[in-house]
Subunit: 370 residues, 2 copies
Amino acid sequence: MDFEFKFEVTAVDPHTQARNGRFHTPHGIIETPVFAPVGTQATVKAIRPSDLHELGATLILSNTYHLYLRPGDELVKEMGGLHNFMQWDGPILTDSGGFQVFSLSDTRKIDADGVTFQSHHDGSRHRFTPESSIAIQENLGADIIMAFDECPPPNDYDYVKQSLTRTHPWLERSLAAKTRGDQALFGIVQGGVFADLRAESGRFVTSLDLPGYAIGGLAVGETKPQMHAVLDVLHPILPQNKPRYLMGVGAPEDLVNGVMRGVDIFDCVLPTRLARHGSAFVLGGRMNLRNAQFSNDPAPIDPHCTCYTCRHFSRAYLRHLVKANEILGHILLSTHNLHFLINLMQQMREAIRQGTLAQFGADFLQHYGE
Amino acid sequence: MDFEFKFEVTAVDPHTQARNGRFHTPHGIIETPVFAPVGTQATVKAIRPSDLHELGATLILSNTYHLYLRPGDELVKEMGGLHNFMQWDGPILTDSGGFQVFSLSDTRKIDADGVTFQSHHDGSRHRFTPESSIAIQENLGADIIMAFDECPPPNDYDYVKQSLTRTHPWLERSLAAKTRGDQALFGIVQGGVFADLRAESGRFVTSLDLPGYAIGGLAVGETKPQMHAVLDVLHPILPQNKPRYLMGVGAPEDLVNGVMRGVDIFDCVLPTRLARHGSAFVLGGRMNLRNAQFSNDPAPIDPHCTCYTCRHFSRAYLRHLVKANEILGHILLSTHNLHFLINLMQQMREAIRQGTLAQFGADFLQHYGE
């Protein structure tokens, strides 16, 4: 059964590159621009699927490397696929495993065919190739799957250039290995911080007719201006009628800057990771709930926020939970931080519809200082 | 403002000592017999207040020792009391701190006036007396507060007998120290496993006209027959028209045996603690989700259970979460285990209304083998 992964552009902002879209997947329509919470091990940490729905999440991401190692993609397949396993009936995206494997810098070995690596659990040896990554992602059964690529150190020109000679053939092999008709394979543009390499990679990747294109290798050490420059280089190269996914990016200011530069999809562990460290997104920057100044503060994190956490709980109580390392602290801060990003995307979608995104973005960036 | 802590007995089982009751508190009526989830640090671990409501919890317990040390009872008072602080609008019971302090066996010193102890956080020195325990509990502001008592080793006759000469004056001092009219002070019967000491303590404690009476010092090392014998000794001594609270007891079979022996209120950390260790209550005993046999088991913990966890998730997924130490595993297993006990109490309340508790209890105890 071949699914038609249609992307409809429903509104275009007159003053920026932003647009509203509807991306059709077998598990529902994703309204873009969208932020995808990350469920690394088949769970968005500390959040139940029903609460994700309530938060307004549509697309979530899960990780091929982690699920391959535990519980194993064959097991997930046997349990009816990732949607059934984790009981998320909305769209899911899986990464290719490449990023995690290349992060294991001490214990992995790259060759032209693939990567050999050691499990971070038990040191056991494994190998990923474009073919095995696609096979794993077919077992997991996400709606959107990613080509196997290398995420190189962004500032090393020679390495990045050389790396493209692996990543591009791997995209062709990923596409050739794909057998399921109900999964959208996105290609990934690499090229580090270098305009010429990004352009080269963008032209190659978009020479293949794919249902979507991703921008990889950012938020890994480059500066914000460098990130924006890469998006600006790619804007005219990436086709307007396909969704654009900026991988691993989720800081609020990056979402705003990304949307204004035409990005449709984002994902990041930041909101849930910050939460587990006791930090909350607020206009004006991050609020560290460990701070003693909040010990007797009866106000919620943000008096204007409508999330479950802010409707009920004081900073004083949240600080107590964080200091006591209580699970409820993780739950409540994760809830707030996810709501913050999902709500920000919703506001941007509305601003695009109204043609006012430039003003919205300027206001936001002025008030949101980290 | 003096609140009338009325206890109405609404049904009496014809074949056991069980009864249904309604205990009126400033934060609502508690239908008894009832199981109270424990929120040691002002949170029932891994469960949001709204989920506690959905689970059918009415009364919850919190701990004086822990809250005195962190965040401090003065702070909780400043934040509007425990109900407001933790956003639980139902009835709350606080213990006296005695049990926790006496558990610090290496670092506490008992005298006739009170107990000096060291904080388990930082080793700092503190002192509890009946007067200070009541003052702390008044700051916390629970609906039901407990007299300061000693929980002695249950099998040492001479020690337990001697301990009663402290605990009984401490009850009188607790009562004298009480200033608020909107909190019900319960006295605590001690006496270890010894019938004569339990009877002596029961007669002394009930000689004071209190809104409820607790049975302390059980589930701390005695056998099940010894626990039942203590309840049988106390049944004719405790007044019928006051609620009876069996402290710290919450294993399913103990709830059934306790209700059949006239107990109205229970509390225990067991359901949430077991959950964090990967175990679930089921008829037939406990299910350890770490067990490899569940790795590809598509069934829920209990196909007949109506909790959120069993309505959605397979044993295979729960095992994955437990093995991966994911917070969602704690959330889902805590949800199931609390539902199991709260639902068991609900079934027992219904059986008492129907006059069929003896049969229900016999059936349950036959099927629930640990």
